[in-house]
Symmetry: C2
Subunit: 157 residues, 2 copies
């Protein structure tokens, strides 16, 4: 499963470029990595079929689509049995406003990233959805005041 050593420095460059600009043409990409279009495309295809590149996504301006509030919510569950977390995760997955859900160490069991229109719709979501989940014992919210970095490029070692 270790697909590591198969990446040479050209592959890394391809990955770096596609992470920051997925819409680049193959011709342009080939210029930037110093190869001709044919082997460039072959490398990209190989990265896709091997699963190293999982998918491609458009990144939206949250403000412009009317989503002004992003929060991180720490969740403590009522217990730690498998059935409790499974049930919790299943319910979380059906809530579109929860865009991330991580099982974490430290205080609290889960950390959610929640995206809302405004504070009042955030409050409504918490009262009517999150806190209504029976497995949830308590929550603690961190509201994002401003975001200074949001990189889509991983630090490939």
């Amino acid at each position: 499963m270790n697909t590591l050593q198969k990446l040479d420095h050209i592959d890394r460059k391809v990955l770096e470029i596609l992470q920051s600009n997925a819409k680049i043409t193959n011709a342009q990409l080939s210029k930037e990595i110093g190869l001709s279009p044919a082997p460039t495309l072959e490398r990209v295809k190989k990265l896709e079929t091997s699963g190293i590149i999982q998918s491609y996504h458009a990144q939206l301006d949250r403000e412009k689509v009317g989503l002004g509030v992003t929060t991180f919510v720490q969740i403590t569950l009522v217990g730690h049995k498998k059935q409790v977390t499974d049930s919790f995760v299943e319910k979380i997955n059906s809530i579109p406003e929860v865009v991330e859900c991580h099982h974490i160490t430290g205080s609290g069991d889960f950390l959610l990233k929640v995206i809302s229109k405004d504070i009042s719709s955030y409050q409504r979501l918490m009262l009517e959805k999150i806190n209504e989940i029976e497995e949830v014992a308590s929550t603690q919210t961190m509201v994002i005041l401003s975001t200074f970095k949001e990189s889509k490029v991983l630090p490939i070692p």
Copy 2:
């Protein structure tokens, strides 16, 4: 600046599709939204030039590129003067392993998302980089044990 009411239900569908699959062809997209290719392209271009669609990114498999550890790090700074946070943010921006940096409410001043090869490289990053920043008073880390949801699709209201 409120670019909200300009989005009809077709625009929303376009945004939803492009968020989950940016590599779809214009012809395929036009079928899915029930228009011909020409006005479909026109809509996408308009969404791009208006800045609602900011960019396009390839999503990688972190494990497969050798990045096994993701953490959230809460940072408390030594003060709250503008110069302190400015200096901190500037240093953070030069660290590729820090992929997100948010100014937050609640305990701690900032929340970082940090991506590392493994625990020991995470430890090295904290000791040699983060804790070396003079504005940092203390840190508290949450290690992600597993991720149950990581949606790239915003809940457009």
